[in-house]
């Protein structure tokens, strides 16, 4: 009888190919990604999209209505704010601030949380106890109050806000990466890597971390939204980004006194914030759905 091993065909498409086809079929993900692309495109192409400068004040043209109102004009499509600055321009430039702060914070907190999660998940024991203690401590802290306190002490510049938020928002990363690492640590390929003589940093960053990219992207997208909302809250309270930098939160603050008379001053930045965070959430959910392993029906 025929014996020994034979060359066989590869069975099945790769999970990457399957994932791409799932991505294309996931409506929420497509919508979220589209909205994010539009906003990001807007932010990048800001100087091309509008001829106005977000900082130029024109006190003779204060509080002009948006163009669809009878008193409005097309030279200021969304009107002007209390200092005569073109509103659409400030809205578009405000996207830059939100996106910048959102992604920088997510990157910073992601690095902190991932390193902590990897270490505690991999080593277990005392290291795990220590990191869990740190996480628990962080969770008891009131984030907004601390951010307010630090900013009021040190000043509200962009780097300060990003640093403070990064140092406060890493907990979700740490928790999820920790449990994911624990699961992967028990897999045999990690034992095989150790048996070959891989150093621990190599195991953590080259063997284990690439398997966590899916989770990282999901949490990252949610944390970007989280950071953006926090920044706008801080700016609204006057302790985030400082005027005259256009920040959507700041614009809401500036417009709140005129809520009943000039409602567009709050509406536009508010809607913009909601759309951006919604799109990020849709992306996060979508990626989680798409990268989830298929169970048996």
């Amino acid at each position: 009888m025929k014996n020994t091993y034979q060359i066989e065909e590869i069975a099945g498409p790769s999970s990457r190919e399957i994932m791409f086809s799932r991505i294309l079929g996931h409506r929420g993900l497509i919508i979220g990604a589209a909205v994010l692309c539009v906003i990001t495109g807007m932010a990048i192409l800001a100087p091309i999209l509008t001829s106005h400068d977000p900082f130029t004040q024109d006190l003779s043209n204060r509080l002009v209505q948006p163009f669809w109102d009878e008193k409005g004009s097309t030279s200021h499509i969304l009107g002007t704010d209390a200092l005569g600055r073109d509103y659409l321009t400030r809205l578009i430039y405000g996207a830059r601030v939100s996106l910048l702060i959102g992604f920088s914070t997510a990157l910073g907190s992601g690095i902190i949380g991932t390193v902590l999660g990897l270490l505690s998940g991999y080593y277990g024991g005392r290291v795990d106890m220590l990191v869990t203690f740190i996480i628990t401590t962080r969770l008891t802290l009131p984030v907004v109050l601390i951010a307010l306190a630090v900013v009021s002490l040190v000043g509200g510049t962009l780097p300060v806000v990003v640093s403070v938020l990064s140092l406060l928002l890493w907990d979700r990363f740490a928790v999820v990466i920790r449990s994911a690492t624990k699961q992967i640590r028990s897999k045999e390929f990690v034992s095989a890597a150790k048996a070959v003589g891989c150093s621990t940093p190599r195991i953590l960053f080259v063997e284990i971390l690439p398997n966590l990219v899916g989770s990282l992207v999901v949490i990252g997208s949610l944390e970007v939204g989280h950071a953006i909302l926090l920044e706008s809250a801080l700016s609204f309270l006057g302790l985030g980004v400082q005027p005259p930098t256009p920040s959507w939160g700041l614009m809401v603050a500036e417009g709140k006194g005129l809520l009943f008379f000039k409602p567009w001053l709050i509406t536009f930045p508010g809607v913009a914030l909601a759309l951006l965070v919604l799109s990020l959430n849709l992306i996060g959910d979508g990626i989680r759905d798409v990268t989830a392993s298929k169970g048996i029906e």
Partner: protein
């Protein structure tokens, strides 16, 4: 109807199970037919992906609603199982047809005691008193060889070892005196010595209670010791069926022969020799399937294998689904005898 005989407690005719997937329809089970007599044991053997587990899950109605189950006939005693409502099926499950699963670690609910899980089905099906149910549970635990049964009733699954949990599962299956027990890989997750004990127990209980049994396994040793009648499945179809003696003494289908040549038998296989093997992989069961699915891996393959394969009936009960010349099959059969 081929398998419809009065002494058959279960009749399955042309069972078809189709699973819709994003890539197309997966034909997990195709035209499986058999009859199960009262008090007898049917063994279904095959490798992973052959459809044996899906077959029994379809019979007991445990497949998800998205999966299409059709058959010309699916009868338990006189009752038609096709198109039975969920409620009615639940009535049959546990009372008339019960199931023992593979993983004793996960088949028991960790937050309920053994006693609660044992009596749950009995209380539901028989509307008995708690005391009656408890007494029956005690008797059965004793019968399956669990000592200090009283104490065990109040224990939780994690306090028992794998072998003990499997015995509890057997006791659970017997609580309502079912007519049929379906055991899906009942000993695969157990240690070798425990496996022998569990199988021995199952055989004894079956003879005692006269319950019919369907045992599904990939382990040829398990099937050979326990089954009266055997079905060999490959790629969703039955390729060979017969009594255990017939299948193991004269394996006729090329797949069965290939399978048998892969197993080292202590005392028979020359030590250090290369084991036989079946080249290739199980083909995908999605989409249009023509002819014999074993063809790409069979060294007797010919163009005739592309058409529908009829059954070749050897005297009394031994059926083979293959178009190769019978003499050639019989000649090869002698080379792979396992005992």
């Amino acid at each position: 109807m081929v398998n419809d005989r009065p002494e058959n407690i279960l009749t399955v005719d042309n069972l078809v199970v189709d699973i819709p997937t994003p890539a197309g329809v997966l034909h997990a089970v195709r035209d499986v037919s058999f009859g199960l007599k009262k008090g007898r044991t049917l063994g279904i053997v095959g490798e992973s992906g052959c459809g044996k587990s899906v077959t029994v899950m379809a019979i007991i109605g445990l497949l998800s609603k998205k999966i299409r189950v059709t058959a010309e006939q699916l009868k338990f005693s006189d009752m038609d199982l096709l198109g039975l409502s969920g409620r009615k099926f639940a009535d049959i499950r546990g009372e008339h047809i019960s199931m023992i699963f593979q993983e004793p670690m996960t088949a028991l609910n960790p937050v309920y005691t053994i006693g609660e899980q044992l009596t749950e089905g009995y209380l539901r099906h028989r509307s008995a008193t708690k005391a009656n149910a408890r007494n029956k549970a005690l008797r059965l635990l004793d019968r399956v060889g669990i000592s200090s049964a009283e104490r065990r009733l109040n224990q939780y699954p994690h306090e028992l070892s794998g072998g003990l949990r499997q015995r509890v599962m057997i006791a659970m299956a017997l609580m309502c005196d079912p007519d049929i027990i379906i055991a899906d890989e009942p000993t695969t997750a157990l240690d070798v010595t425990i496996q022998a004990q569990i199988l021995s127990l199952l055989s004894e209980l079956q003879k005692e209670t006269g319950t019919a049994m369907i045992i599904v396994s990939h382990d040829l040793g398990v099937i050979s010791r326990v089954a009266d009648h055997v079905l060999v499945m490959y790629a969703g179809r039955i390729v060979e069926s017969g009594t255990a003696e017939q299948i193991f003494a004269t394996p006729t289908h090329p797949y069965t022969q290939g399978l048998f040549s892969c197993i080292p038998v202590p005392g028979k296989t020359p030590k250090g020799s290369m084991l036989g093997s079946i080249p290739g992989v199980v083909p995908s069961l999605i989409g249009d399937l023509k002819g014999c699915m074993f063809r790409p891996r069979c060294d007797l393959a010919s163009d005739r294998c592309l058409a529908q394969i009829p059954a070749v009936n050897f005297p009394v009960q031994h059926h083979v689904w293959c178009v190769a010349p019978v003499e050639e099959l019989k000649e090869r059969s002698e080379k792979v005898m396992l005992f």
